[in-house]
Symmetry: C2
């Protein structure tokens, strides 16, 4: 599978993605319903990455349909957020290096402590096709914003 060249996220919003945020990852279920739930994430300046398990619904959803979107509010100010829409790449994490990097980043421990023995980790890499990074006054429906990064109306 080839993936789109990822769209850049404005540098003005990188701090949101690097300050221990909780993202909300949207996928499509095999039953046709949308699903969205909280996730930890790592942003390397280019891609947002999330860890999941092969037993989890979001893995099954993305295996069937790689379309994905994520909404990432600032940890302490939900009025500021980044939304990325794109395609998910799934990569096995057999040595658990990625999930352990999340544990180090979020929990300051070397190993992610919550998995059962034999749990199979997968890394979700989000290839951004569209990025929306507005600043809004309430947690919904900003008035016409001067921020040209917003693509919510496109």
């Amino acid at each position: 599978m080839t993936f789109p060249k990822t769209k850049p996220i404005p540098e003005s919003h990188h701090y949101i993605l690097q300050d221990l945020p909780t993202g909300h990852l949207a996928t499509l279920r095999p039953d046709g319903r949308l699903s969205v739930n909280p996730v930890a994430l790592i942003f390397d300046g280019q891609h947002i990455r999330v860890s999941t398990l092969k037993s989890r619904m979001k893995y099954k959803n993305l295996l069937q349909d790689p379309r994905v979107a994520i909404s990432v509010p600032h940890r302490n100010n939900p009025n500021i957020y980044v939304e990325v829409r794109g395609i998910a790449e799934l990569t096995d994490d057999p040595d658990r290096s990625f999930v352990n990097s999340i544990a180090r980043h979020y929990m300051n421990v070397d190993e992610y402590p919550f998995d059962e023995a034999g749990a199979q980790r997968v890394t979700i890499t989000i290839h951004a096709e569209q990025v929306s990074a507005p600043e809004i006054p309430l947690a919904d429906d900003p008035p016409a914003a001067p921020d040209t990064q917003s693509q919510d109306e496109t």
Copy 2:
């Protein structure tokens, strides 16, 4: 259009929905991409409701495809959340009573102050088909949870 009888949200999780949360509302765009962004919401004990504008993308998305999902973390603890998947009902809010109820609830003012003159408000009522209300240790991938409300694996 008829809507499914909404599934109940466990009373144990009502406080999450009533304590000024920011939900993350997922919709499907006409271009086929998923979208998800932050929203304020009102929960009346049965339905989650959100306000939007007719000019906004999420209104256009839901007009074309009423499938919707929302992830609502507790305002101060993203490890606790409610996810609802279902169908969106769109209702005009010509007297602005609903958006003003959001302003009262979130901002302690009688009128939502951010709209431009002539802005047309719409209320999104989420009819729940599936409710997931687990408690998880990190913001992703709980170990097998004893909480039978979770339908993430169904």
